[in-house]
């Protein structure tokens, strides 16, 4: 039964941006908040860690988008591979 796979570049871009924002807020914000509540530490609330978090989020969004596009063969021609027709027997576990 042939069903169309829903993956497409627009979806991957949205996922990359959304997950990047979520991970940035969750990891940086969560860590800073816990440290602040636990022992009043404001080390992570300095501009350098915050800038680092923002830069990381931007980099991660790009990295994730590019990975999904390549992984789903949206980019690349597959010219490094050749499909060879073979007659095979595929082992399966007995039930």
């Amino acid at each position: 039964m042939k069903q169309e796979f829903p993956g497409n570049p627009r979806l991957y871009l949205r996922i990359a941006v959304f997950t990047s924002i979520f991970f940035g807020i969750w990891i940086y914000g969560g860590t800073a908040l816990i440290q602040y509540l636990w022992n009043g530490s404001t080390t992570l609330l300095d501009w350098k860690p915050a800038l680092g978090a923002v830069l990381f989020m931007a980099w991660y969004a790009r990295y994730a988008y590019r990975w999904m596009m390549r992984g789903d063969a949206q980019w690349g021609s597959g010219s490094g591979w050749v499909l060879k027709e073979r007659k095979v027997k595929l082992p399966e576990l007995r039930s």
Binding site: Q3, Q35, G71, G76, L83
Partner: protein
């Protein structure tokens, strides 16, 4: 049952329940620290051993089997031979991921032991960040992965049910899951190990 116990203590001894629970918790933590303290390095060895399995057991199968076959399928989705190969590698991967899924509970067991026995607190920033990553990112991913690989989403089970549409949906859903979760798994897996080893802040 728990409510009955609490009520018993409250009525019989008129003791503050919260103080009682904290006291019991302190006793338990002290017991673990005293008993397991000399074995911290052994617990750490077990923890790291299973972390290595969890991180790397699926790498070869995913990169060298799943990825090339699924890419070939995406380039030519109507080719039945490619779909047959795709389905076979997917079912093999469902089975092979057992190593990772046995390792993960062991990590969840030994991790808190290291936390308690080692006396780590949220004052250690590396520790907090690591916990935030594990609880907020890896736990939800692994829950989904358990379902897709072994329970309702297991492809061999779907195939034996004879519902081709459900099988195809299952394969495609799992592939989408891999595409979306592979970047964070790779990135934050590296980060977790870096935080634990280097302890940068």
């Amino acid at each position: 049952m728990v409510c009955a116990v609490k009520l018993f203590f409250h009525k019989a001894e008129k003791v503050n329940i919260i103080d009682k629970i904290n006291f019991v918790k302190s006793i338990m933590i002290a017991f673990l620290q005293n008993t397991l303290g000399p074995y911290y390095q052994y617990i750490k060895f077990i923890h790291l051993f299973f972390v290595m399995i969890w991180l790397w057991s699926t790498a070869v199968g995913f990169v060298h089997y799943l990825l090339p076959v699924f890419k070939a399928w995406r380039r030519d989705p109507d080719d039945d031979d490619i779909r047959t190969m795709r389905d076979w590698v997917m079912e093999r991967f469902d089975h092979g991921v057992i190593y990772e899924h046995v390792a993960f509970p062991m990590i969840l067991l030994t991790g808190p032991l290291l936390w308690i026995v080692g006396g780590w607190t949220p004052a250690s920033g590396w520790f907090v960040m690591k916990l935030v990553i594990i609880l907020g990112i890896y736990l939800p991913i692994e829950f989904c992965d358990y379902y897709l690989s072994h329970f309702g989403g297991n492809k061999e089970r779907l195939r034996k049910l004879g519902d081709e549409a459900a099988y195809e949906r299952g394969v495609q859903r799992h592939w989408m899951f891999f595409l979306v979760t592979s970047p964070p798994i790779m990135m934050f897996g590296l980060m977790v190990v870096f935080l634990a080893v280097v302890k940068p802040f």
